[in-house]
Assembly symmetry: C2
Homo-oligomer: 492 residues x 2
């Protein structure tokens, strides 16, 4: 916590890594590609979880828990899905260690304890869940099934980055089963809207809702809805996806139901998820060169009190006032912390609370007690002001709301300034290199064009926006006709 961060301009990627570590959010572990989520980072994740969980329950979903392991034979049942994950999965082959006869005090895998069938650590749970739904569904009366799971999953990524891409990560995965195609599509869209609502109203992060191109569609899905956000460095980040799975998994696992006419039909499915990668999105949407900036709704504590004192008597008077204020704040639902550590000087405390993004800092010294006022510091604008103690509760409530909306509008302005319309491939390349951000351009709808653009520029189609420009035109690459502009960007 001692040193300053490198500036964003100097090295955005280094700034990000330093911030994550120095703010006490996460760090790398002894296991390749796996992170440790530290208490302060985990507290933010818990806030996200609890809000999302509430929203899922309000829309009729229940939580359940399915196994970590997927037997290889189930894993491979839905071919496209299996193919999509086969190259990056952790595989359990043995179930026992034994003393290593060649190395005293060391252990080795017991060759006799080989599993008959290998177990894949779930990279996602469609396979294990649909092999279970088969037994739960006989008739339309058993539908819909609306289940969510909070779990850890593993994808053996080669290049990892804290929160953004790790071998193990935390997420929620919804898996629903429906009578009709329409109901499944409605569920898929409803969840994508729920994700957008969460991103915008809790993370203060504007997102664009849309559909993925075929190339970027989830392996095993018919259609992938998504929310896409723009980071400060001009790269896009996929913040959540909601998949319409059609009858693919029902067919792979033979899940049929007797419909209202008594006919046997395959069940319609969706799956959807957001992950601890949202932590990365949160950081790269709001933070500055001093560190993290948190929207009040997701801050582990919204207000921190720092006492300034020269002797115990002064500290006592300040502590008495803080105790009273904390009580009054908490009555109004504001979370607070009193940083009365005697092992740190005020300057060190300020630096820590700034790097950790505490929305409001209140400093109280002996002079403030005399004047019956407080010094209030806003993390988002870095502005200080003095407020009468008696007015402080109402003022802080107001400030917290203001910070929440200010962060959103700041991010929205930035995002909107960084959507550029282009009409030809030269401009496309220029904008991508000079400015970055989202590029809105006509595309002929083929995989081939998309792949070539990716190959030449590293930009991918982030989404076909829900509310796009529906005027027809010509593909910027192939010149072929196009019905709608889509959003390209380099992405995390």
């Amino acid at each position: 916590m001692d040193k300053k961060l490198v500036s964003r301009e100097e090295d955005y990627s280094k700034w990000y890594n330093e911030l994550v570590v120095k703010a006490g959010l996460a760090e790398n572990s002894a296991v390749r590609g796996c992170m440790i989520i530290k208490p302060y980072g985990y507290a933010i994740w818990e806030k996200m979880q609890s809000q999302l969980d509430k929203m899922f329950k309000e829309t009729g979903h229940e939580n359940a828990y399915f196994p970590l392991f997927v037997p290889k034979s189930l894993f491979e049942a839905e071919e496209k899905n299996a193919e999509g994950f086969a190259k990056e999965c952790a595989i359990v082959t043995h179930y026992r260690l034994q003393n290593d006869p060649d190395n005293k005090g060391k252990l080795r895998v017991d060759p006799k304890a080989k599993l008959e069938e290998e177990l894949i650590i779930r990279p996602t749970s469609e396979a294990i869940i649909w092999s279970t739904y088969k037994n739960w569904i006989q008739s339309y009366r058993d539908l819909p099934i609306l289940i969510n799971q909070w779990a850890n999953v593993v994808r053996w990524e080669m290049r990892t980055r804290l929160f953004l891409r790790t071998a193990e990560f935390l997420w929620q995965e919804g898996h629903t089963a429906h009578e009709t195609e329409n109901q499944a599509i409605e569920e898929t869209k409803m969840i994508n809207n729920l994700y957008a609502d969460f991103a915008e109203n809790f993370m203060s992060m504007p997102v664009i809702k849309g559909v993925k191109s075929k190339n970027e569609t989830f392996a095993g899905a018919e259609k992938t809805y998504c929310i896409e956000a723009l980071m400060q460095d001009g790269k896009a980040l996929q913040a959540g996806t909601s998949h319409f799975l059609g009858q693919n998994f029902a067919k792979a696992f033979d899940v049929k139901f007797a419909d209202r006419e008594g006919k046997l039909n395959y069940v319609w499915a969706t799956s959807w998820g957001v992950s601890s990668r949202l932590m990365g999105a949160l950081i790269m949407t709001h933070s500055d060169d001093r560190g993290l900036v948190l929207p009040p709704k997701l801050a582990p504590y919204q207000v921190v009190f720092v006492p300034i004192y020269k002797n115990d008597e002064q500290l006592d008077s300040i502590s008495k006032l803080v105790k009273e204020l904390r009580y009054r704040f908490s009555e109004k639902g504001i979370t607070t912390k009193f940083d009365n550590r005697d092992t740190k000087r005020p300057g060190e405390k300020f630096a820590q609370h700034e790097i950790q993004g505490v929305p409001i800092r209140i400093t109280i010294g002996p002079k403030d007690l005399e004047k019956k006022s407080l010094e209030i510091f806003r993390r988002d604008s870095l502005k200080k002001e003095f407020i009468e103690i008696d007015k402080s509760v109402d003022h802080v409530i107001h400030l917290l709301e203001q910070i929440q909306t200010n962060l959103y509008s700041r991010a929205l302005n930035f995002r909107d300034e960084n959507i550029t319309e282009v009409d030809n491939f030269e401009d496309f390349k220029n904008v991508l290199e000079s400015k970055g951000g989202f590029i809105s351009a006509h595309w002929d709808g083929t995989d081939e064009t998309e792949n070539k653009i990716k190959e030449l520029t590293k930009a991918t189609i982030r989404c076909i926006p829900e509310q796009g420009e529906f005027s027809s035109g010509k593909c910027i690459f192939s010149g072929k006709p196009s019905a709608q502009k889509v959003l390209f960007a380099k992405a995390y």
Copy 2:
């Protein structure tokens, strides 16, 4: 849900399995030894989690998240701990699948994707956590560290039973680091008391607090505190453990700190956990031949309303009343459900709510509307009564409290009736076979005696009670002197 359970008397073990499945709590999965926790079961687990989490936070603990994988070299660092878990762990050896050239559409492990070092799926996280704490701790100012983690762990058990013993299970594990031996011991005891408080006041399950014998002490610990409960079939169940780890892990991972005199010392440690096995304990403490009986504090919903009607008009009137009552109940913090499914007859609904242990069922028919009264059914006593609608909110609040305490005192009576004092080994064997339960007896304190008794009777020392009979006597097996009676039992 259609069929009745086998009775407890006929086959307790079968009754348990049937109950777990038919009440929709959990079921076996396609993966050997791994269970699926179904929505109703998971909702109970969530209630447990949220209460425990609150209690941990109130006592100064924070949550964090550490990796699922433990590299073999870290796993083996603390030798006793490694030895304790080596025989039952899942081992990841490869990180990629490939198409099987001999089997079209099938996958096989890619032999080229072998890990340099095997990864053990955590059976518990001391190793990965203490290898991390090493970097977090330099001075006494960094202590204490009070961290808890909610996670899944894997122990490759050969004989598994839903909730009680599964290869993968859910738990919380606390891992704390302290300056002094005393502070660590105080933490260990405080947590054991917290567990007892949770068991008794939320699960309505009486427990005996004590210390494990050396044989039963956690591998790598100096001392294991525990809470032990008694199940209806006379077998004991270890419901929670809190370990004083001494400096064992600090030494294995070389975790030293500069103390207040500037000297380098090894850090003192504790770890503690309860798991989804508590679900099994809950079931086997209160349930009856009709199914689950839930203490109101852990019930997913405390009151279920069932309408009795012959036409839509009647249903409308009942629904109107139920809507109003649900609102009034929820204002008082009572959770309710309106079971207005038109696909089930009232009798089927009653059976389902009984097997699922809903504490209170309220039935409303047209006659009740006329009389302005409700039929209230208590799951614990199976008693029905009629209550004026206007008095129902207060009455239900009162009933829920009564059910919570009634379940506790019923279980406490049963438990106390099933602690038998014996003075010789013949009586010991007779009581164990005829009556079961806890047997309080003198023991000479040696592993040898404990092992022989276990070999001959399958009974183990469940704990050396905190508040035991401290009169000295003679070991029932060896005749050697003994300072205190200990509790034996057959156990889950």
